[in-house]
């Protein structure tokens, strides 16, 4: 019997599939945490909190057949994002969300929940996207295609408008230094962001912390990601601080010759970072620690396993080295010798004339 392609219908099975393949639904979408309760325990948790390629938060919900609370959970998630979406940057620091980028809610369903998806798609909710996974079979393996039901689709990424960052409260004496610092930070990379509250600013790239600046008692105090604190009281200190920011940026972007594994914030930045780091990339999935200095990686040892002409020739293959004989001639000689030894010497040739 030929079985048609099917996606799991149970929530747990479907979620284990979706959670592993979020990147296939939308490029750069990575799961941060599972089970986000945003309704005070009344409606059940949102299936996952993810981070998209821009560094914005995405609440991922699954639509399964017979989920009576689905609409309520979607509404609750949208309302939660509207209320506290801006604060997720600091509330979930492990997610490395980028400040100033609004969040969205993503509902993922299958054919089994098509009716629910269709009705929810029509709801006039801000920053809400719906997609349906459609399975098919290719060369004996089951795959799924993503069909976006929202009019905008994945490309436009509708988001909630991010709350404006309050103005940085810096003394008049240091306002020029602050302006200089900002302009230098913009030169590091267009993706470098500066956000925070009235007395504190954090400088990030792709959600990764590069450094922090405080306004304290009329002074500008800076802290690098390595934990070095300084007071910015002149062009020299500012340049030294920006130099530290630059080094940290190179580290997290994978530009440095070290062993960073960059996680792109945008598609463009991600592509560039991957290209730059391709020679030093770790295992796919990259959870292992870096290779020690002077140690050969597994891949390079595999690449070095290529046979030289001398080795090939010594093994008995003559085609590569001399080009005249047939491959495996030496093995054939071995076989002939063994047969001759087993059968004894040949009788002397008899003259026929």
């Amino acid at each position: 019997m030929i079985r048609g392609p099917v996606l799991p219908q149970l929530r747990d099975s479907l979620w284990s599939l979706v959670a592993r393949r979020l990147d296939a639904i939308e490029r750069g979408l990575t799961l941060v945490v599972e089970g986000l309760d945003c309704s005070g325990g009344q409606l059940g948790p949102v299936d996952g909190l993810a981070r998209d390629a821009m560094g914005g938060p995405v609440l991922v919900l699954l639509a399964v057949d017979g989920d009576a609370l689905l609409t309520a959970r979607v509404l609750s998630a949208c309302e939660f994002l509207t209320r506290v979406g801006d604060s997720l940057v600091t509330a979930v620091p492990e997610a490395n969300f980028c400040g100033g980028i609004g969040g969205r809610v993503l509902l993922v369903g299958t054919d089994a929940s098509a009716t629910s998806l269709e009705s929810l798609r029509r709801l006039p909710l801000p920053a809400f996207q719906v997609c349906r996974l459609e399975p098919f079979r290719l060369a004996g393996t089951e795959r799924f295609a993503v069909r976006w039901l929202s009019a905008e689709g994945a490309n436009s990424s509708p988001r909630l408008a991010a709350a404006p960052t309050p103005e940085f409260n810096v003394s008049k004496e240091r306002s020029r230094d602050w302006a200089t610092l900002r302009s230098l930070c913009e030169r590091i990379d267009p993706g470098v962001r500066i956000d925070g509250d009235r007395f504190w600013r954090r400088i990030t790239w792709s959600g990764r912390l590069l450094g922090e600046v405080w306004s304290v008692e009329g002074e500008l105090r800076a802290l690098t990601a390595d934990g070095v604190q300084s007071t910015l009281s002149g062009a020299g200190e500012i340049r030294a601080f920006v130099d530290q920011l630059m080094r940290q940026y190179m580290k997290v972007a994978g530009v440095a010759s070290g062993n960073a594994s960059p996680e792109p914030a945008s598609a463009e930045a991600g592509g560039a970072a991957k290209t730059r780091d391709s020679k030093h990339r770790g295992p796919p999935g990259g959870r292992s620690s870096p290779i020690k200095a002077g140690e050969e990686s597994l891949r390079s040892s595999l690449a070095a396993a290529r046979l030289s002409p001398e080795e090939y020739s010594a093994l008995g293959g003559s085609a590569m080295s001399s080009g005249g004989g047939t491959a495996g001639a030496a093995l054939a000689d071995d076989a002939a010798r063994i047969v001759a030894a087993q059968e004894g010497p040949w009788p002397p040739l008899r003259r026929t004339d």
């Binding site: 292992s288 990686s297 495996g328």
Partner: protein, 309 residues
């Protein structure tokens, strides 16, 4: 279930005491004796080859059965993620495979299937089209599973996929002993040498045993080994050990699905005797090197390779 009824369902060897070499094997795998004071863990033996179709699965399954008959607890892990066939040689169709394990669908306890001939089997996958789909997380999952299996068995046989992909090398390097199965033909020989060369470049090289399969005429296996050993010593600086040769046998190549393994169906034939001789040689060498070899644990060895990926 009462004890008697349980025992009825357990595969027992009636003539276990008459099997030659059993006392040797008992000594070999006795735990807590001598210098071997580490945590109890199985001897891990990988069956590998550079080229496919050399007879790895045949040797791995028959070795497993022979070792089981000598009184050891044996498990075979078919590490071929795409084109597995060890379950066919065992004549079973397990519900779960290594694919389910790697996907996190079921734990290793569920994937480990019993076979009619005694050894446990973790069947290989058949739905993973490319090794490239296996990332470090998958391999870490496999490392954890192998660690559990190693603690529950005396011998763990890894039927490794052919080729020199990093994923297959990680499984090969998880073992303390690697049995390279080759054929007396130039393609298999060069691929086997490429594997040896690669193993020789690793920080910790496992003990390499060579089996020459499908040999005709008899004695060509030794000649093939001599040639390969010489090249390995000269160019790769690696010592390999001769485990023996297995003759070309139409009874092996013409076997049908569902037939019991050769070791049981034709116990007196030359091929079976050759396989038993190969296993005995490997076991003797394992015993000789047991005390000198470090046993960091299969999981630690695999994680070390994943780190170096």
């Amino acid at each position: 279930m009462s004890a008697d009824r349980f025992l009825d369902k357990v595969h027992l060897e009636p003539d276990l005491e008459r099997i030659p070499g059993r006392s040797l094997l008992r000594r070999l795998f006795r735990r807590g004796a001598g210098d071997v004071s580490r945590e109890r863990e199985a001897i891990v033996i990988a069956f590998a080859s550079g080229k496919g179709g050399t007879g790895k699965s045949f040797l791995a399954t028959n070795s497993a059965i022979a070792m089981h008959r000598s009184g050891k607890r044996v498990a075979v892990v078919d590490c071929d993620f795409g084109l597995a066939n060890a379950h066919l040689l065992f004549g079973v169709n397990p519900r779960y495979s290594i694919q389910h394990l790697l996907d996190g669908v079921v734990p290793v306890q569920e994937v480990l299937a019993a076979t009619p001939y005694g050894p446990g089997l973790v069947a290989g996958g058949s739905g993973i089209p490319s090794l490239a789909e296996l990332d470090a997380r998958h391999m870490e999952t496999l490392a954890g599973a192998l660690q559990w299996l190693a603690r529950c068995h005396d011998v763990l046989l890894l039927d490794c996929p052919a080729g020199l992909a990093p994923q297959s090398m990680v499984t090969v390097l998880a073992a303390q002993h690697v049995v390279i199965v080759t054929n007396p033909e130039i393609a298999a020989l060069t691929d086997a040498y490429a594997l040896i060369k690669c193993l020789a470049r690793q920080p910790v090289c496992p003990v390499v045993h060579l089996v020459v399969n499908r040999v005709s005429p008899a004695g060509l296996g030794r000649a093939t080994f001599d040639r390969l050993a010489e090249v390995s010593r000269r160019f790769a600086g690696c010592e390999i050990h001769y485990a023996g040769e297995v003759p070309e046998d139409s009874a092996v190549t013409h076997r049908r699905l569902g037939q019991p393994p050769l070791l049981l169906s034709l116990p007196e034939c030359a091929t079976t005797q050759a396989v038993l001789s190969v296993i005995a040689t490997i076991e003797q060498r394992i015993e000789a090197q047991l005390r000198s070899m470090s046993n960091d644990g299969v999981e630690a060895r695999m994680l070390e390779q994943i780190r170096r990926w």
